[in-house]
Amino acid sequence: MSLVSYEFLAFFAVAAILYYVVPKRFQWILLLAVSFLFYAGGGAVYLLYPMITAVSTWFLALWIGRMDSEAQTYIKEQKPDKEQKKAYQARVKKHKKCLMTAGILLNFGILAVLKYTDFLLGNLNVLFHLQEGAVLQVSWVLPLGISYYTFQTMGYLIDVFRGRCRPEKNLLRFMLFVTYFPQMVSGPISRFDQLKKELFEEHSFDGTQFTFGLWRILWGFFKKLVIADRIAPAVAMITAAPDIYDGIYVLVGMLGYTLQLYTDFSGCMDIVIGVSQCFGIRLPENFQRPFGAKNLSELWRRWHMTLTGWFREYIFFPVSTSRFCRTVSRFAGKLGLNKAAKKLPVYIANLIVWFVTGIWHGAAWGFILWGLANGIAMMVSQELTELYRAFHRRFPKSDGSVYGAFQKVRTCLLFSGLLMFQYYPFQTVFAMLGNLLATGRLSQLFDGRFAELGLAAADFIVIAVGLVLMLVIGVLQETGSVRQKLAARPLVVRFTAVFLLFVMVLVAGCYGHGYDASQFIYNQF
């Protein structure tokens, strides 16, 4: 069930009514039932996958938790001396680590097999020059949201191992954490210690929260239906035909693709978080005005934040402080490469994280290269940091707003440019970039190719209005919640603002007959 369908709206409406009608202690059970229904809508068989993940993770986490408490009892009662205690603790930790590893292997294994078998087979086919027709492919259907709930549950397992959160005893409660329907399909990736309070406490109807939730949903619909889906066909045409759309169109495609990606995904998040807010459950934010960032790594701290946070916490820090990295670093130190010794662990971990980020986004070389390119760009900018600092010391006035704007534009262009790896074949990325720089002229916009994109004058007006609106909202957000500001205005102002937005979605949204019912881009990960 797509989040932008009549069915979903009806589903949500019924769920919301029931949620505030049932006795409060049953609210979470209702959410669980509704989540199951939601998921089963795509085929009940697929419920099996999240169930395997939920049950296995719940069980292993509980086991790890029991070992912890047994260890505590042992130390309390037996009062071992320091050496004994250390040895005992090491033994327990090793056991716990085994359990955690088993859980991680099982669940990431399922994800890997389902998601990457075809990719692997495809590469083998190429490697061994299999004839066409003899190509091996399995074409397994990915269960909805598998990349999201797998990451979320594995984060939980690691947190329990680290002692950061206590294991959940009630399997049903844990299942709600895994399958909570607003977030299951496209995230955000929540942490158990943050979400559990929200999920299981009793929620009374709060008119303000509910209204805010609805406003947020409307804003998400606006981004998704009015902007993302409107530009999607044109963007697809440009990015799929680099031989026709060259020159300035490389830039148009780049920016269009970025805009589409952002409005599609962040719009989806607005709907998800808004729906959840209507239930009184706060989900973590996934975007924080990413295009206000002044450099690429800052942008990535504001874009798909729960995923990058996951990678930072569970891959980047552990890998960079791992024994392997330490050894490499020492080795470099011995060779007299002191600077490299300091940076090597960071850079190794960085490349691993970005490789995984790439492959998480899609089982294809384009995504992997895109990930690695981001990683490399960040390392280059890290290397240049000293230069920047020297530059700023030399020209202290360069911190002004003009330079800030320049930084933002530069960062946005870099981010968009790197996305070329996602849609152009690898060997053409640099050629297209060169083509843009060498032959790109603004006049090409009027050479007739633009007209073939299928965008009418009305579309451009809508897109322009949409962009201005997003910009205004973005600026307003810098000084606090836009919805709170709106709520403080008189009724007539509030009504007019929300009503106009509603009418724009209603009239200018790309939905229904004549528009292809389009999925969210981030659904299939």
Binding site: S297, R301, F316, F317, T321, R326, S329, K342
Partner: protein
């Protein structure tokens, strides 16, 4: 304490470490810098900071870092 300040100034000289207690939240120390910091603390103070301890609360201020180092030393 001075050793720590030296490491910090080496990593990013553009901050006032003695007064600022939002170093991570203000993104003065980003993940790159945190890892370099952890590596050098290990070399200089001879304590290894486990990756799960790399959380903002432990690195937002110089005092917090000193507390962390002290705690870890005690555990060893």
């Amino acid at each position: 304490m001075d050793e720590l300040l030296e490491i910090l100034n080496d990593i990013n000289p553009d901050a006032d470490y003695e007064t600022n207690d939002h170093l991570v939240d203000d993104e003065i120390l980003t993940s790159f810098e945190l890892v370099m910091l952890v590596t050098q603390i290990r070399d200089v103070f001879d304590v290894s900071i486990p990756s799960e301890a790399i959380i903002p609360e432990n690195f937002n201020s110089v005092e917090a870092m000193m507390r962390l180092i002290g705690r870890l030393k005690e555990d060893e």
